[in-house]
């Protein structure tokens, strides 16, 4: 809170990002997002990611409902949902979510129910991991901004 931790926070952020990149959780598309953030939209990344989470949450809920239905046969709908998820995930650079979604989608295209169920679980797992990481990242970012905002009269 004294404005002394900016460096450390920035380093933490970088480290977190690096590890996320390293694990393949994120890809360069996320950097694109960061580039898009400027004065006119200072919270762009945060906003986009938040919307992404909202949307994805809905999609995942729908997917789960669809798959839980015993009489289930509408693989096309699942495919559409997944297309959405794949599209938005790749847009924000959530690489791993996207990859597991693609796998899920191919299972749905083959009408492979067990594959779909498994795919859904994996997607959910990846999704939650991403969400946690993003949450951490934004918290750090917020702290950094607070710290960077501190100015001392010279």
């Amino acid at each position: 809170m004294l404005g002394l931790g900016v460096d450390r926070l920035q380093a933490d952020i970088n480290r977190l990002l690096a590890s996320l990149f390293h694990q393949g959780v994120l890809d360069e598309q996320f950097l694109q997002l960061q580039q898009l953030q400027d004065e006119t939209s200072p919270n762009f990344v945060y906003d986009v990611i938040n919307i992404y989470f909202d949307e994805s949450e809905k999609l995942l809920r729908n997917l789960r409902l669809l798959l839980m239905d015993r009489e289930f046969s509408d693989y096309k709908k699942i495919g559409l949902h997944l297309n959405q998820l794949v599209g938005s995930s790749s847009s924000i650079g959530a690489r791993r979510v996207r990859n597991v979604c693609v796998a899920f989608r191919s299972a749905s295209e083959l009408s492979n129910r067990p594959g779909c169920l498994r795919g859904l679980e994996v997607v959910e797992h990846e999704y939650h991991y991403l969400k946690n990481m993003m949450h951490e990242l934004f918290q750090l970012e917020q702290q950094r901004i607070l710290a960077a905002g501190v100015r001392y009269p010279m």
Binding site: D7, N83, G87, S88, N99
Partner: protein, 901 residues
């Protein structure tokens, strides 16, 4: 005198029991039998003390000496005087006694006289005339009786009648008795007198008395001196001993008397003492000196020697008196003390020196801290300035402004780089820098570093990564720092290498002398480092020469930081270099192998998924090679640095990914190879370029003979020069090309300005819409949004667009169908097909649209890169091009450039 000299030391010394100067067990039995216990110190006991004979004296000459010298005679006189005084005292006492006795006798005589006078008549009487034996007898008895009576009581009782014969007889008898008693007393007094006279006579021998006194004095002296560590002696003019007291026990009389020191002792110090004595004798002045003797006889002992010259009564020197006191212990102690003091002084000096150093270090640390803080303080606003300048560069500017802005940005970046370097360095130096221990894959790090370097490569160099098979897939370390080091070394290598190749070799070496089990050894080879400036390479702010600085730019901190970082990680960085052959920077780092199962667990989860299948093979890949991909640029993440583009290329998919390479994920590679097969002719241009450049750097000769030149020409025509702001170089050449480049761009934007292009985005995904919109904003465009194909057709119908970005997969009406409908409208001029398909379009607008020239509306597909959305399908449905999702600024910009004229 000795005491005076030694007081200061004695004060500091503990009183301790002194061992005898000479060892106890040396000497003859004869000497020993006189040894006595040290007496309790009462003078009265002196008489009982047997004095050890420690003296050896030349008896014939010593009296002479005593008589002939002042000291000797004065001592004798003293003794005589003392004796005379005692004698006088005795005489006085005797005289008094005599006087007493005289007085008593006088008194007695006076009494007798009185008695006689009193009884005068009696004396006339013939005393001794016996008349009758009987009578005389009787008379005698009477007189006796009378005298008895007189003695018994003063008054003589005469019982006889006065003046009778009996009376007179009686009286005579008592008187006679008194007389007898008186004579008796007189006789006794006389006896007493003669007796006292006799005793007086017996005491009156002066020599005897003197000798006795002398003996006492000597005894006293012996008593004091017998255990003192003192040697006393007298030597004559030739320094021959005449007298010595307390000599070394084993020396006999004949060994000492008449001999000099040199003749008696052998060893160190003897000569010195001899010389000293001689000196005193010559100078005639008493003095003292400390001499250490090391003789066979008593080992090493230090004596304080006092020597005084002796004069005879005529004032001539006849020898010396000398006194030696053993001070070995004191000397040892003194030396110890001196040494201690010296040590103390040295320690104090060191301490103050240390304090000074600590002070200086503290100052330095503070200065460094200050520097770090300052740098940080400078960095924050500066990054603001640079960031703003970069944003400014994306706005409309004229040629001059842009040029100025470019200089501003690159200078700002240079300063930022410098400050970052300083910060890093001061962090390392002040020990603030913390190292992380995270698991990472060295192969990927190397690959990534090379990818990054290759992306910004402006020369025709080959970058090679060579990783030995035995390097573990995962190791634990600070990946960021290792990457920093590698990047730094590689960028240096690229900077200073003009032809040939730059490479990283990674191998495991086992070096027992080094920290832990194994060590990573990374080589970066660079060629043509043609300066003999190796020693100062690692110094801060040092560059090979001033020429270098001008030619290559840079801060000169890079290698210093690398070195510091490597050392911080417990490794070492070395360099070997040969002019015009190349340099090898080697750093060795200790590493730990992470638990390998962690990551593989992760993989197992997805192992059944198609995308991940090729990954395991890739992790062990040990060789990478990167050729310069001229014309394609790694965008380095800073906002607004987007001046790099690939003209005449629309189909940009994975190759960019490879070059961008921010994520060193192995699946990148597989993705690329797949895509290469999918590419159409539009991409072939690029791959040709790639192969030709692949051949070039293999040998310098080949590069020389024209191939390279034409190649570089080609690259120029591709306008690949890039405004690389991260390199921090300010070379004029690149600056020029950049500015000309900017000019073009500006012209384009001007054209755009005049006819304000209208763009329609057809996309159902909210996120994608947001991202694309934001990107468009940055590129200076606005666009309309349609959420599906039907909305798109409606929008196109209602107003004219210059460009449509069409998502392929959409609900209601997908992109392909929508495109088909739009194309059919363009051909037929009516929306019949659309209406047939169920899209509701008002006819009034329809007529309006009919008036428009039926220009082909560029429609660009946005595909999610799946088989269902293949490029062929896109083209077959009448799309002009496609952008693979996710959309990036770069792709978008290139697309706009191609289709918005």
């Amino acid at each position: 005198m000795v005491c005076e000299m030694e007081t200061d030391q004695i004060e500091e010394m503990d009183v301790e029991v002194l061992s005898s100067m000479w060892p106890e067990d040396v000497g003859t039995e004869a000497d020993k039998q006189f040894n006595v216990e040290k007496p309790a110190g009462d003078l009265d006991t002196l008489k009982e003390v047997t004095i050890e004979t420690r003296t050896i004296a030349d008896m014939t000459r010593l009296p002479n000496l005593l008589n002939s010298t002042h000291q000797g005679s004065s001592q004798l006189t003293n003794l005589v005087k003392q004796w005379e005084y005692m004698q006088d005292n005795a005489v006085r006492l005797l005289k008094e006694e005599l006087k007493n006795l005289d007085r008593q006798r006088e008194e007695a005589e006076a009494k007798e006289l009185k008695i006689i006078e009193e009884y005068k008549f009696e004396s006339n009487e013939p005393e001794n005339v016996p008349v009758l034996d009987e009578t005389s007898d009787l008379f005698r008895r009477f007189r006796q009786k009378k005298r008895d009576a007189l003695v018994d009581s003063k008054k003589i009782e005469i019982y006889e009648e006065f003046d009778t014969v009996a009376y007179w007889k009686q009286k005579a008898l008592s008187l006679e008795k008194m007389l007898e008693a008186s004579t008796e007393r007189e006789r006794r007094l006389m006896e007493k007198l003669s007796e006292s006279l006799k005793t007086m006579e017996s005491q009156s021998a002066p020599v005897q008395e003197l000798t006795q006194n002398l003996k006492r004095a000597e005894g006293f002296l012996h008593f004091i001196l017998q255990n003192a560590p003192i040697v006393m002696g007298h030597q004559d003019k030739d320094l021959r001993y005449l007298f010595i007291y307390n000599k070394y026990p084993s020396l006999r009389e004949q060994d000492i008397l008449g001999k000099t020191d040199v003749e008696i002792f052998h060893g160190g110090g003897v000569k010195e003492s001899e010389d000293f004595k001689r000196e005193v004798l010559e100078k005639g002045k008493a003095s003292k000196r400390e001499i250490t003797f090391t003789t066979d006889l008593f080992g090493s002992k230090t004596f304080l020697i006092y020597v005084e010259p002796v004069y005879n009564k005529a004032g001539e020197k006849i020898g010396i008196n000398y006194m030696g006191m053993e001070v070995t212990d004191q000397v040892v102690k003194r030396e110890k003390m001196a040494k201690l003091r010296e040590d103390n002084a040295v320690r104090k000096a060191m301490e103050s020196e240390l304090n000074k150093t600590i002070h200086i270090t503290e100052e330095t640390m503070r200065a460094k801290q200050m520097l770090a803080t300052m740098s940080h303080e400078i960095r924050s606003p500066l990054s603001g300035v640079v960031g703003m300048a970069e944003i400014l560069s994306t706005t409309k500017l004229d040629k001059e402004q842009r040029q100025l802005l470019n200089v501003m940005i690159s200078s700002g970046d240079l300063v930022l780089q410098l400050i970052n370097d300083i910060l890093d360095l001061s962090k390392v130096e002040s020990g603030v820098m913390r190292l992380e221990a995270t698991k990472f894959r060295p192969r990927e790090v190397v690959k990534h570093v090379l990818q990054t370097a290759a992306a910004s490569l402006k020369k025709s160099l080959t970058l090679e990564g060579n990783i030995a098979d035995d390097v573990p897939i995962e190791v634990v370390g600070d990946v960021l720092r290792i990457r920093q080091i590698l990047t730094n070394l590689i960028s240096n290598a690229i900077k200073f290498t003009h032809e040939g190749n730059v490479g990283i070799k990674l191998q495991v070496i086992s070096e027992p002398s080094f920290v832990r089990d194994n060590a990573l050894n990374a080589d970066t080879e660079e060629h043509e480092q043609n300066e003999n400036a190796l020693p100062c390479l690692f110094k801060k702010y040092m560059q090979a020469s001033a020429d270098h600085a001008r030619k290559y730019g840079g801060t000169g901190l890079g290698l210093a930081i690398c070195k510091q970082l490597v050392e911080l990680m417990g490794g070492q960085l070395t360099v070997t270099s040969r002019v015009s052959e190349g340099s090898t920077f080697t750093f060795i780092l200790p590493y730990k192998v992470g638990r390998s199962d962690d990551y593989s667990d992760d993989q197992d989860e997805f192992s059944d998924m198609a995308d991940q299948q090729s990954e395991p093979d890739d992790t062990a890949e040990g060789y990478f090679q990167f050729k310069p991909l001229l014309g394609s640029i790694y965008s380095n993440g800073g906002p607004g640095i987007s001046n790099d583009f690939l003209p005449h290329k629309v189909m940009l998919t994975s190759p960019i990914k490879l070059i961008n390479g921010f994520v060193a994920d192995p699946s990148n590679n597989t993705g690329q190879s797949e895509m290469l097969q999918l590419e159409n002719g539009g991409y072939m241009d690029e791959s040709k370029l790639e192969t030709s450049s692949g051949h070039c750097p293999e040998s310098a000769h080949q590069y020389e003979n024209g191939n390279g030149r034409c190649f570089s020409k080609e690259s120029e025509s591709c306008s690949s020069s890039q405004a690389s702001s991260e390199g921090g170089t300010l070379e004029m050449e690149s600056e020029l090309t950049v500015s000309s480049h900017r000019e073009e761009e500006k012209a384009e934007t001007e054209v755009k300005e005049t006819s304000k292009p209208k763009i329609l985005l057809v996309e159902d995904n909210k996120i994608n819409i947001m991202v694309a919109k934001s990107m468009m904003k940055q590129l200076g465009h606005t666009m309309d949004i349609a959420n599906n194909g039907v909305e798109a057709i409606t929008a196109i119908n209602s107003s004219s667009y210059d460009l449509v970005l069409m998502d392929v997969c959409m609900p209601v009406l997908d992109g392909l169908k929508a495109t088909r409908l739009i194309r059919s409208y363009e051909e037929t001029g009516n929306w019949n097909a659309a209406i047939e398909a169920g899209v509701d379009i008002s006819t009034s607008e329809n007529e309006q649209v009919c008036m428009r020239p039926t220009n082909r509306l560029p429609i660009i597909a946005m595909t999610a890169n799946t088989l269902a959305e293949s490029s062929e399908e896109c083209y077959a449905n009448g799309m002009d091009s496609f952008i693979s999702k996710p959309v990036t600024l770069q792709k978008l910009r290139e697309c706009l450039q191609q289709y918005l004229h």
